[in-house]
């Protein structure tokens, strides 16, 4: 059985302007030891999905209106706040986008690391400090024992993200959710943090969810990729399959928008962009949410009348579109006959 099974998750924000359907029917599962990359642009519901799993969505205005998040055999959406608190940081840990603000400036980092262990493992002060030193060494921070007594302002961004990772790993979680772990970092440090995450995933045998808008990040770190658009997963596949044979027009457009420096088919001039804007999630397009921006949608077919289902177009490759690439090709070949 999968470690994490998310079924038909819907998280809506009830605001004065209306109901924002931030996450609207997300399904995925994650096995132990695997990494899932969730990709999508700002506002596509990636972070809200992660926060829904953790039970950290701001209530009010947000609420999980339906669906289940089964983690290790337990439905997290049905647990009480105090039961969730016992799971957070122990079985599921999370690291956030901005390491500069994720550490409390008034507490020594040693305190912030040992805090978690004392909370969940009930270890003594001394034991917790000893483990904190090991953890800092594990995330490659030199002089670990001395640095426990430093305040966060003496660490650089990359170092702080390492400290955040150490805190996340303190209780050997089964699942680590990394919400844009590298976005706020310098490009050189990004690669190091990704390598570190991958190394730790293997040594701690955890599953990992990496949330990002950077295709390069998931290409490097993920086993499976889910592409989100307007609160829904539009395509889900293994990393190689997705990059080699993208099916959804949105994924194709995303990959097409990546800047290329060299190689075959290099484009000249301006970078490609996807025309139009992501839909308003208070009042999304009635059927396919990508239809208004999709080059293949036309007025006469189901794109504007019937919401497409997420279907398995080939083994392990799921897509939510009436016009996936392979069917377009087949159609084009069949047409002249």
């Amino acid at each position: 059985m999968a470690l994490l099974e998310v079924t038909d998750l819907r998280t809506h924000f009830f605001t004065r302007e209306g109901v924002v359907q931030a996450v609207d029917g997300v399904d995925f599962s994650l096995e132990r030891g695997k990494t899932l990359g969730i990709v999508g642009e700002s506002g596509s519901g990636k972070s809200v999905t992660a926060l829904s799993i953790m039970g950290l969505i701001p209530r009010p205005p947000a609420r999980i209106v339906s669906g289940s998040v089964v983690f290790d055999g337990r439905d997290l959406t049905a647990l009480s706040e105090s039961e969730l608190e016992d799971i957070r940081g122990k079985d599921i840990a999370m690291i956030f986008q901005d390491p500069m603000t994720s550490l409390n400036p008034t507490l020594k980092i040693g305190t912030q690391i040992t805090e978690v262990m004392k909370r969940h493992l009930g270890v003594s002060d001394e034991e917790a400090r000893k483990r904190a030193v090991d953890l800092l060494e594990e995330v490659h921070i030199a002089n670990a024992a001395d640095r426990l007594n430093d305040y966060p302002h003496r660490f650089s961004g990359g170092m702080r993200q390492r400290v955040m990772i150490a805190i996340a790993l303190a209780c050997n979680p089964k699942l680590l959710i990394a919400d844009e772990p590298t976005t706020a970092l310098d490009v050189t440090v990004q690669a190091q943090v990704l390598d570190l995450l991958e190394e730790l995933r293997d040594s701690h045998e955890m599953a990992m969810i990496i949330i990002t808008h950077d295709m390069g990040v998931v290409a490097e770190a993920a086993d499976d990729i889910a592409v989100m658009y307007a609160g829904q997963i539009v395509e889900r596949a293994g990393v190689l399959d997705l990059f080699d044979r993208p099916e959804h027009p949105y994924t194709e457009a995303l990959l097409g928008a990546l800047p290329q420096i060299e190689g075959e088919g290099i484009r000249e001039g301006r970078l490609t962009a996807i025309p139009g804007r992501p839909p308003d999630l208070v009042d999304p397009p009635p059927a396919c949410r990508f239809a208004p921006r999709c080059p293949y949608a036309n007025r006469n077919d189901s794109c504007t009348t019937e919401p497409p289902e997420l279907r398995e177009i080939r083994a392990g490759h799921w897509v939510r579109s009436a016009h996936p690439a392979s069917e377009r090709a087949a159609h084009a070949q069949g047409a002249p006959a």
Partner: protein
């Protein structure tokens, strides 16, 4: 997967002195704040005067009695009545003159200052205590409770603070340090509660609060460890913002006869004594009035300097 040790990690390699590479300048929040505070000359001067005033009020009566030093001048008892010398103008023997009973005003102003300042700080701390508890609960709980508590506060905001203090004293019927503190804080903690609530709500948005919740910290730990300590800066500012109002309030209550009972004195009641003879002996009302004005002015300047020093939004680069 090969590990790329980060540059930062290499810089602090074991055995290497930490100051190698780019030395990290030791600089704490308080040190930064101190540096910014001393740049503000008005605030430094105000703090100095404030300190001298405290020294005068609390230490002078003691020094006065040190045998062999000041006794040669005169051993001054602020309660010592000396009718032949009543209404004496300032002189060497009585630097501030004497009052209608011939009591030495230099000693009495110090005595009155002790009481005024004690009540001022006592009531300010009471205001902050109530404000912190109310504001923290409201801001931290959020939602309907927050809304309810704030609307209740809006309703209370209309209450005039001095009449309320007068009513409180009238109901209690006893005037001493504690009833004065209660009377002065009972209708003046609303602003403090709002400040704390606003601060808590701002801090609640911080990533480290989210991060603390993401590792399973319970609510009381989030509040006590991550939110309240970070409100310390605004609280220190608030002390000096509230202080002038409270001291003026105390002076006013004493002036209209609701204050400290004679023969004890506060600056307000001393001014009241001087009012009856302001033509004949104007120094009796002038001395405590100047003392009140100086204290209030200093507190305002100090609050200003502290705000510039501690509030990150108004910091210059």
């Amino acid at each position: 997967m090969a590990v790329n040790p980060s540059q930062e990690a290499v810089r602090g390699a074991p055995g290497e002195p930490r100051s190698a590479g780019a030395p990290v300048r030791q600089s704490s929040l308080w040190r930064d704040a101190w540096r910014r505070y001393v740049k503000n000359r008005g605030a430094v001067a105000a703090a100095l005067v404030f300190f001298l005033l405290l020294l005068y009020c609390f230490a002078v009566p003691g020094f006065w009695k040190i045998p062999g030093i000041w006794t040669s001048l005169r051993d001054v008892d602020p309660y010592q009545i000396d009718f032949p010398n009543a209404y004496a103008s300032p002189s060497l023997a009585h630097p501030f003159g004497t009052d209608n009973f011939g009591r030495d005003l230099f000693a009495r102003t110090a005595l009155g200052g002790q009481i005024s300042i004690a009540i001022g700080f006592g009531a300010t701390l009471a205001i902050l205590l109530i404000g912190v508890v109310y504001g923290a609960i409201s801001g931290f709980a959020g939602g309907k409770l927050d809304n309810g508590m704030m609307r209740f506060l809006d309703a209370l905001y209309g209450l005039p603070y001095l009449p309320f203090a007068i009513i409180t004293l009238a109901i209690v019927g006893v005037v001493n340090f504690w009833t004065m503190v209660v009377a002065l804080s009972i209708a003046s903690w609303f602003t403090a509660a709002r400040i704390v609530r606003g601060q808590i709500i701002t801090l609640k948005q911080n990533d480290y609060v989210r991060a603390a919740r993401a590792v399973g910290a319970r609510w009381y730990r989030v509040l006590g460890r991550h939110l309240l300590p970070n409100t310390l800066g605004v609280l220190i500012i608030a002390i000096f913002l509230e202080l002038p109002g409270v001291i003026l309030g105390e002076a006013f209550l004493s002036f209209i006869g609701l204050g400290i009972n004679p023969p004890d004195a506060s600056w307000g009641s001393m001014a009241q004594d001087g009012r009856d003879a302001y033509r004949r002996a104007p120094h009796i009302i002038i001395v405590p009035s100047i003392a009140i004005a100086t204290l209030v002015l200093c507190a305002n300047f100090i609050a200003d300097g502290l705000r510039d020093a501690l509030d990150p939004r108004t910091r210059e680069s």
